[in-house]
């Protein structure tokens, strides 16, 4: 089975972000970058599928400036066979513009399955995968928390409010991956060494028209400093009084 996984390079989120002087981006000074969380699950799930079947290979695609080559190398060191950078100076916000570029790269690739994370963790649109699938004309299941592929068919579970939907679809297809499917592996030393010799191509990205742009980025209004009501169960009556009179939730 030939699988393509589309990944994004994002900053690690366990920091307090600052806004850049432009007011339309975050300040990237000192940030560490990695594969977006859900995209990492997709890479891992793809590798497990090819390893289990003993056949096929995983290609990895990332749109962005040259720094994304580092992110692509990481995916190669995890076990992907080939990487493609779709080069742009700056990743646009518009999901359809991005989807257009990814679809142009994927359309003649002969992939049985195209995989995405359910959303990138920075811009958090969750639209690109669905849009790529529509442009390619293949069936798409969004947000799979379980995925089985056999005999040219797929079965997936999507989480919905209060439960899950079991979905079936024919290949070739596209899927996006939710949490819970697979924890991404750490690259082994052997993986890191072999990744250096694996093919990484760079091509210009054929972006679609940009209709959605960032006008402003700002930090959310902070919460007022916390307040300790008291200690132990003796503080419960006062808490209940506050929930009634101040919060009015009781």
């Amino acid at each position: 089975m030939k699988i393509a996984v589309c990944i994004k390079r994002v900053p690690e989120m366990d920091v307090a972000f600052k806004i850049a002087p432009s007011g339309t981006a975050i300040d990237e000074t000192g940030l560490k970058w990695d594969i977006s969380d859900f995209d990492g699950y997709a890479v891992e799930a793809a590798l497990q599928m090819t390893e289990k079947s003993g056949a096929g290979e995983v290609h990895v695609i990332c749109l962005g400036p040259d720094v994304v080559q580092e992110t692509l190398r990481k995916a190669l060191s995890m076990g992907c066979a080939r990487a493609v950078q779709l080069k742009v100076d700056k990743v646009p916000f518009d999901p359809f513009a991005i989807a257009t570029a990814l679809a142009a790269e994927l359309k003649d690739g002969g992939y049985d399955l195209v995989m995405f994370g359910k959303m990138s963790i920075d811009s958090a649109s969750g639209a690109v995968g669905l849009m790529v699938a529509d442009i390619l004309g293949v069936p798409m299941v969004q947000g799979c928390s379980k995925l089985e592929i056999a005999d040219g068919k797929g079965t997936a579970r999507r989480e919905i409010e209060g439960g899950g939907e079991i979905v079936s679809f024919p290949l070739p297809a596209a899927v996006s991956i939710d949490e819970g499917i697979a924890r991404p592996r750490y690259p082994s030393l052997k993986g890191i060494m072999s990744a250096k010799k694996k093919p990484l191509e760079t091509k210009p990205a054929q972006l679609g028209e940009i209709r959605l742009t960032v006008e402003k980025m700002e930090l959310p209004a902070g919460r007022a400093a916390g307040r300790i009501v008291g200690e132990g169960s003796a503080a419960v009556p006062e808490l209940v009084r506050l929930l009634k009179t101040e919060a009015k939730v009781l």
Binding site: D37, A124, D134, G162, P220, I228, V249
Partner: protein, 328 residues
């Protein structure tokens, strides 16, 4: 005159709360531009019975598409339907809910129409030729203001961001045939596995009681469940540490990589308050924290904190909440 089109989500033939929120969002936008609200509802035969409720929330026209193969959510058929409706009229915007279904349907529909979309928006307004929306990103740590050009502009509204309002619309009902055969869809929902159907979803519950590692075992989650039951309108959540331990299912996880919630009241039980977790619940209206470590970061953002042993405090709180609910 341009109008606003809105997809009204159903499950099992019933309108969901997010459907009324989306229709209300469409109504607000239509009022700004002086147009009407046209709602689309799709489902098995009989789903058109929901038209009255949609009219009561401001729908002037309700397009009803009924077909046996629309009983479960049919992604491809619904995308084709909304795209066809959007092309059949003069629309300034097409509105969806950013629910599990809407997160799937809205980008699909946009791609069908060869246009883009702003997803999961928390506010929206018309600004000249553009629509300006806000959308939280970076796990809720950054508010992104986006400018969406082109008409119709497609966007999905975060559940809870708009409160459903009753405003009487004209409610003219029109049956429309599915533009593509719904039984020919390639992606088929073969079954829907709902947990306890009486259980409130984390995205919809007014109160969330959430447990962390401080509970020490899966069995001790009974404390959390009992407190949730005392509130009566509460859902149970958990931290990533807890779902990783397998004490609760992954779907209960609140945080950066799990559910992002903003209930009226969030009760954090035995949760220290890792950044990862705070990212998922910091927009809750009121936050209560119960933890034995008075230095725990959760107390920095909690409106009301109790320092103490959860095994002592939580049962006492459960009894007090029960009494308050009974005594008024």
């Amino acid at each position: 005159m341009p109008h606003v089109l809105v997809f009204a989500e159903t499950r099992g033939g019933e309108l969901r709360k997010v459907a009324f929120e989306a229709v209300t969002a469409a109504r607000q936008l239509a009022t700004q531009i002086g147009g009407d609200v046209h709602a689309v509802v799709a489902g098995a035969p009989g789903v058109g019975g929901n038209a009255t409720a949609l009219a009561e929330h401001g729908a002037d026209v309700v397009y009803v598409c009924e077909h046996g193969a629309l009983a479960n959510y049919n992604a491809e058929a619904c995308a084709a339907l909304v795209a066809e409706r959007a092309g059949a009229g003069d629309y300034r915007a097409v509105v969806f809910a950013a629910s599990a279904q809407g997160k799937d349907l809205a980008p699909r529909t946009a791609a069908r129409m060869r246009t883009t979309i702003a997803t999961d928006v928390t506010s929206f307004r018309v600004d000249g030729d553009a629509l300006v929306v806000t959308h939280p990103g970076y796990t809720g740590k950054v508010v992104q203001t986006l400018r969406l050009s082109g008409s119709p502009a497609l966007f999905s509204v975060r559940p809870g961001a708009v409160a459903a309002e009753k405003v009487q619309g004209a409610g003219r009902v029109e049956q429309v045939p599915p533009p593509v055969d719904p039984s020919a869809s390639r992606v088929v929902v073969t079954s829907v596995a709902l947990g306890d159907t009486k259980k409130l979803d984390l995205g919809e519950a007014p109160v969330i009681v959430s447990g962390g590692r401080g509970l020490r075992s899966a069995e001790n989650f009974k404390l959390v469940e009992d407190l949730a039951a005392a509130f009566g309108n509460a859902a149970v959540g958990a931290t990533r540490a807890v779902t990783d331990e397998g004490w609760r299912p992954h779907t209960d996880q609140i945080g950066q990589t799990g559910r992002l919630v903003s209930p009226d009241l969030y009760v954090a039980v035995g949760i220290s308050g890792a950044i990862q977790h705070l990212a998922g619940m910091r927009t809750s209206r009121w936050i209560v924290a119960i933890n034995k470590d008075k230095e725990a970061p959760i107390f920095k953002i909690a409106d009301f904190g109790i320092v103490g042993d959860v095994f002592e405090v939580v049962p006492a709180l459960t009894e007090a909440v029960k009494a308050a609910k009974q005594g008024g």
